[in-house]
């Protein structure tokens, strides 16, 4: 069954690149996620914030994409933070230990504020 197609929009919030994700993060999200990341780091921000508030499904391939994105950001010495995760996906981020390498925040303001304080 085709689920909600993945999409990502990028915007700036206090010199932080925010990527608004929506739909399903699965294999099909690969290119769009990569493009969104590249767009978000065009201004060379120290921090990239991922907005998961409108993501309704992440499968293991989606986890792999997020790991790939995080690996690249770390290589580029950028911090990645996230907000808007449901309780279930917060648990999955904890189980996979993604949350050890990616700050998880309840909302955008706290994610961006933490980013500003950290950068």
């Amino acid at each position: 069954m085709p689920g909600a197609e993945f999409g990502a929009e990028v915007r700036q919030h206090d010199s932080t690149g925010v990527i608004d994700l929506h739909g399903e993060i699965n294999l099909g999200a690969d290119q769009a996620l990569l493009a969104a990341y590249e767009s978000a780091v065009r201004g060379d921000p120290r921090t990239v914030v991922l907005n998961f508030a409108h993501v309704d499904y992440i499968n293991s391939t989606g986890i792999a994409l997020i790991v790939g994105l995080l690996a690249r950001a770390r290589k580029e010495h950028r911090t990645v933070r996230a907000f808007g995760l449901s309780e279930h996906y917060r648990q999955i981020f904890a189980i996979t230990r993604l949350s050890d390498f990616m700050g998880i925040y309840p909302d955008e303001d706290s994610a961006v504020t933490a980013s500003a304080a950290a950068s």
Partner: protein, 534 residues
Amino acid sequence: MTTIPSNLRRVLRREPRVRPTTEPVAAPSERVEAPTVEIAPNDPLVAYFSGATGAVDIATLQLESPALDGLREAGIRLVVPLVSQGELIGLLNLGPRRSEQEYSADDRKLLNDLAGHAAPAVRVAQLVREQEAEVRQRERIEQELRVAQLIQQQFLPQELPDLPGWQVGAYYGPAREVGGDFYDFIKLPDEQIGIVVGDVTDKGVPAALVMATTHSILRAEAPRLIAPSEVLTRVNELLVDEMPAHMFVTCLYAVLNPATGRLRYANAGHNVPYVSTEAGVTELRATGMPLGLLPGMEYEEKEATLAPGDTVLLHSDGLAEAHNAQREMFGFPRVAALTGEANDGEVLIDRLLKEWQEFTGPGLEQEDDITLVTLGRRSAPGDGSGGERELAAFEVASEPGNERLAIDQVAKAVAGLELAGLRLERLKTAVGEATMNAIEHGNKNRPELPVEIRVVADGTDLKVRITDQGGVRPIPEVETPDLEAKLAGLQTPRGWGLFLIQEMVDGLHTAVDEHHHTIELVMHLKEEAPDARS
């Protein structure tokens, strides 16, 4: 003998007194004991002494009082009431002076002063003694409670019987002042099993001892007689002679043949068991007097056949007759209704206790023991299904993204079960990952090859079996992915599927045959205590 106020009697008995005597005056060192004079609490003398302002001359007192006569007979001449805070707490009784002279005004003043000082001191001593007696009484009661609990626990089954195709549940919750509840499972010939739930009237050690006796007789007679009516008749005959006055035992005794579901039962005045069936709640009624009341009792015997999916609840009255703060009763209709909603014995027990706790509210002490025994038939033993109910069976074509179809259908199939919130989300993630594996790795993304999905539930677990056509292939070990290595680019970012599945579910099994590969996901239906996963 009439009674007198306890504090007064104590003083009368214990205070050393001068003994009135016509005998020659004793040597100064000689101690004499006055005879005890009992004073009834309604004797007018009590009221008189209570209001007296000083020493009272007994010889000249004009009062219609048996106690006054008693004092005179005992040779008492002068009584000095001991009054503390308006309460008469004792008397100083004096016989004639040794000099044979009358008591002088100075003597009386001295005695009154003495009484004024002694009264509060005597009262304090009385209060201390009363308090000590209360402490001893409390300790004795606590000790009795401990003994009763010990006896009770000694005779409760240590484990539940393991009956293939059946789910057996039991709960025993003693009240602080232990009642006489008991339950038991008795092995019988031909793989049959006897089930007992009983309640002894009264509480504490006497009830526990009667319970122990009843338990022992039942254990001895049940395997010999088998038929529930005969067993109860026999137990009654043996108990009648032993039973203390005003005590009796209510008891439901049933014999189950697990192979057929046939349940024979007889009831000695105990609560009527309820059965949850497909058609609704039914009652297992049979008449009979409680055990130990009258000799020569006969007990009606009835039988029922429990169908797969039926659950019987045997219960003591501690639940149905529990009250809330408004003195409303939990009620038998409520117990019956809750039984009707259950399709699982363990879940039923939890539900009943939860409803009971919510009904009585916090802070109310449990009034009576609560005993609940459930007996649920999953299926006939040996049919291989283990009592499973099929909730859904469907296929999805092996096309990427079809795991979402599987997730949605499984979620629909389990909607009626006690699986919600985060645990349902976990199941959905596991189903998605397992279906994805089946599509990609088992069926190699070939749309003509179906992924078969079957959802079943038994009394305790939900199982989702996902089968692909990949046949025998090695079952990989589930390893925890090395995130550091992946982030450092030393490993592929992928490889999370099996790990996620394992972390999401309570059990994970795989099975293969020549053509198929099946992964079974297990979720316990009973709510788990919070653990590291939640």
